[in-house]
Amino acid sequence: MSRNHVSTTVNGDRVEFLCETGQTLLEALRDELRLTGTKEGCGTGDCGACSVTVDGRLVCACLMLAVEAEGKAIQTIEGMAAGEALHPLQKKFIEHAALQCGICTPGILIAARALLERNPDPSESEVRYWLAGNLCRCTGYHKIVDAVLDAAREMRGA
């Protein structure tokens, strides 16, 4: 099977990899680049565990082919903290007990950051609808919503 060569940027680093045409970005991240922080919960775009941003746009990595990453800028959970300094969302998730098993957490953090970049002051309802693509089975979402709202408050300096 001939493989495609892809050059792309992941969390600011130039990377190259080979992939089969049918391989998804999620598979390339996890299996070729060993960035396993992005999770697979369904493989069909229904759970959001594989949320990443591509050129700033929030997407499911399972619904994008790896070959389509050519020349793009990808952000994954591994690039969210600045060195040792956690992103405010990461800090608030720990502080608010907004994670339990943690399998949905990377995807929810990436999605929440994308929300706050567009809307620094979302309402509870806006947070809930924006995160509707991210399933969590442990928390009932209560503490996740609180953590996002609190992070937004802190990031606004309010």
Binding site: N4, E20, T21, G22, T24, G43, T44, G45, D46, G48, S51, V54, R57, L58, V59, C60, C62, L63, M64, L65, V67, E68, E70, A111, A114, L115, Y129, W130, A132, G133, N134
Partner: protein, 287 residues
């Protein structure tokens, strides 16, 4: 399986034509990748059309709009002037999947995937949108309601693809709306959908209307009888009741995991009525 990302429409058409029907167009990929994964599709060639500028642009054109078939749902939602002109079309687009899915999914893909439950299609039909189609034989146009024939089947000839959608110039006092019913608030497939597009005259009387229903037949339906219930009325309760009855009467649904026949028929009428009320408010609010 080969992957190509042509930069021009001509190249894309040539690739599709040269693949003897074993090629698949890749726009947002939110349906195609699932088909690949489940072995429901096994093409030799994927033609990614997202590098073609014409298919990625939103152009205001003589009062109307031309929306590239590969424009993502999020790009369209974020285009505020388009959303003001065609809020009902944006309603439909907003219902498609999650924010993540909308970051990739396109109206072109939503149409050509040919699901009877596609959320943007009834809204486009009600809007009177025309699909611009290109293929080995050149370009042609078709009303959106004529593109899909049934589940998974379109009227596109081999090698043809939808390039863009043209939405007409808006008359004053016009409004459109799309509503769908799903058990969950988000992340669901329409059990039934209804789109209403109407224009009022200076006295508030409905001068023209188009009504379209989704997920109640093998493809999205244009329902002239439902529209006729509104035209010539002030869209009052009696007219809305006739609209609902006509909408329900037009349904030819199936029973499946997403809903029963009876349910779809009943709710199609309810949604048509509710969508008409929203369209009416929007028309009244428009200069």
């Amino acid at each position: 399986m080969r992957y190509e990302a042509p930069k021009t429409l001509e190249q894309a058409i040539a690739l599709l034509a040269g693949a003897n029907g074993q090629a698949k167009v890749l726009a947002g990929g939110t349906d195609v990748l699932i088909q690949l994964r489940s072995n429901r599709a096994a093409p030799d060639l994927l033609v990614d059309i997202k590098a073609i500028p014409e298919m990625k642009s939103i152009v205001a054109d003589a009062g109307g709009y031309r929306v590239g078939a590969a424009v993502t749902c999020m790009e369209l939602i974020e285009n505020e002037t388009f959303a003001r002109a065609w809020p009902g079309v944006v309603d439909g687009v907003k219902y498609i999947g999650s924010v993540q899915v909308k970051g990739r999914a396109t109206m072109g893909g939503n149409l050509c995937n040919a699901s009877p439950a596609a959320d943007s299609v009834p809204a486009l039909i009600a809007a009177g949108a025309v699909a611009q189609i290109a293929g080995p034989q050149g370009r042609r146009e078709a009303p959106v309601e004529d593109v899909v024939l049934g589940p998974g089947r379109t009227s596109l000839a081999p090698g043809e693809l939808v390039v863009s959608f043209v939405l007409p110039r808006r008359a004053p006092h016009s409004g459109d709306a799309y509503l769908r019913f799903t058990p969950r608030t988000e992340m669901d497939i329409a059990v039934t959908g209804a789109a209403v597009n109407l224009t009022l005259d200076g006295k508030g009387v409905c001068s023209s209307a188009r009504v379209s229903l989704g997920a109640v037949a093998a493809r999205a339906l244009l329902v002239p009888a439902a529209a006729a219930a509104l035209v010539g009325t002030k869209v009052d309760e009696a007219a809305l009741a006739r609209l609902a009855a006509a909408a329900s009467a037009a349904c030819k649904p199936i029973d499946d995991k997403r809903g029963t026949k009876e349910y779809r028929i009943k709710v199609a009428g309810v949604l048509a009525r509710r969508a008409a009320k929203i369209a009416l408010e929007r028309a009244r609010g428009q200069g």
